[in-house]
Symmetry: C2
Subunit: 324 residues, 2 copies
């Protein structure tokens, strides 16, 4: 059981990371207006959020720039134009995906870019690619984190090898990532213990990125807080792929540090997220996501089910279970 | 941290209690059709649910029978008419509220009634009334449980006195009740430990009744499972007052005992709960409920906000915080 002091007190090492534009962008192909992005930036500052992830550095060889909003590519100039120069009140982060990012060319030196944190996302079979990207970003002067995705379908012995590799790399933060929304809190606690062994051994910080397939994104995130995880991803109104993420307003209401002001998160939800949802952008918990989460599957079938406007959950269950 | 075996194995002492008609009835004034109730009964049997709570035994002196559906009063004859004679496959339960139930007259002998379990609900200042109702029900041959409501606004020293009283009473099951949806799992764990002291001392079982104000009803329920709590309340699609309850489909998907078949829960949601919601009955998580949950307040202000179709969360926050 966690100590009461971990609930009631302030832990200065905690960092809240707003991933609305990045994980939320997967829902609307990154077509956020400049006004929305600027308002999000201002809301994050008022709410005390520590980092704002503005999107991906996606390869323009691999993705058609005409089919996505600019936050999928996050050209430095675009970010400067909308958000201005670096402001110590809110650090900016960008995600680079192994195999989907021309990082040698597109990630520029930290002191010439709008970003402070590069977040490398990788599958466990791509670890050498991730290490190369981590070293590249570190050499360019960034804080660097690494997300090993989809770990609920990886074996713990393989995860330990990957954590050893990250331990020896210059990465600063290692994220526990529940891509499929498949963890229950007790599993998350055991996973955090495993990650902590390597974090302690190598002097790394830990992070948590949760998905809400089982209505457990917030629960898993606060479980992680109690387990010593410091970097906490959240998105306004839980906006994110499929069932979405840990809601920022819930997370900030839980953290007792007075720097975090959840009133400002609620204000942003009221003024920007509710209208966005009413405009037809879809995300959030529903049974199809619970099913892929429980079955530890990629949510793509559930996303297609949602897109098709289907409501025949039982048929869907049979489909993803292979019951003919 | 919980043991892996508690997640992966079967604990025979667990009982799942469907509270859809009772807590859900607070949302639609108990106007469920006979067809709905019969289908729910059948679904519960197929899903392996252990108890079905069909409503309240509310006083007809206090409540106008013309203003509520029959499940608020649960006349034995009405229950027999819709659900037939007792069936060992699914026990029926009914709730009696201290001060709102003419239990001496309306609760009949167990072997003449459709019910096996009487659930006494009380506030902590009404404990002597609850004890009297517990003894009355026990003398009539029932299994008896007791919900001490709204404990998040009670002091632990008072709760311990109440638990001591229940320990010495003939009650079978003592429920941990998070009426305001205010607990986070770590607090729930500590509360379960406190309840467990008395449960062990007096040979009682424990139960959990959670609300979803902070999107934690399911998380708190499975936390309780890991803490040795056996009686687990849930409702289909989480239907219940305000933000609702722990969803049955999530709970059954979590329990590994093969007697629990969540496919049948999903089927009932698809065929009955989704149409019910589409007909205009409102329940489920929204920010106004998060706010009353975080602030540990009764949800009545949030329910009124919902009923009025309001979306001005920031104004609501100011209202319930008394910020003029």
């Amino acid at each position: 059981m966690k100590e009461v002091s971990k609930l009631m007190g302030v832990r200065d090492s905690i960092r809240v990371v707003d991933a609305t534009l990045r994980d939320g962008g997967l829902v609307n192909d990154f077509y956020f207006t400049d006004d929305f992005v600027k308002a999000l930036y201002d809301a994050n500052i008022k709410a005390g959020v520590d980092y704002m992830e503005v999107g991906y550095k996606a390869s323009k060889e691999m993705f058609d720039v005409d089919k996505f909003g600019k936050w999928k590519f996050c050209d430095d100039d675009d970010v400067f134009e909308v958000l201005g120069d670096k402001n110590p009140a809110l650090k900016l982060a960008v995600m680079t995906d192994v195999g989907r990012c021309d990082y040698k060319n597109d990630v520029h030196k930290c002191d010439e870019s709008p970003f402070d944190l590069v977040r490398v996302a990788t599958y466990i079979h791509q670890m050498p690619g991730a290490i190369d990207m981590i070293e590249d970003a570190k050499n360019k002067g960034y804080e660097v984190s690494c997300n090993i995705m989809a770990i609920t379908t990886a074996q713990e012995s393989d995860i330990k090898v990957a954590l050893e590799m990250l331990g020896k790399s210059p990465v600063d933060v290692i994220y526990i990532v529940d891509s499929f929304g498949s963890f229950v809190p007790e599993q998350l606690a055991r996973t955090a213990d495993m990650y902590n062994e390597f974090a302690v051994k190598y002097g790394k910080k830990l992070g948590i990125h949760a998905h809400n397939n089982q209505q457990l994104a917030f629960a898993n995130t606060i479980e992680a807080v109690g387990d010593g995880v410091d970097y906490l991803d959240a998105t306004y109104n839980g906006m994110g792929r499929g069932a979405g993420n840990c809601p920022m307003e819930n997370l900030l209401s839980f953290l007792k540090n007075p720097k975090y002001q959840y009133y400002n998160a609620i204000k942003f939800v009221e003024n920007y997220m509710v209208p966005l949802k009413e405009s037809g952008v879809k995300w959030g918990y529903d049974l199809q996501y619970m099913l892929t989460g429980v079955l530890n599957q990629h949510p793509r079938s559930a996303i297609a089910f949602t897109k098709d406007g289907r409501g025949d959950y039982c048929e869907f269950y049979k489909e993803i279970m292979g019951i003919d």
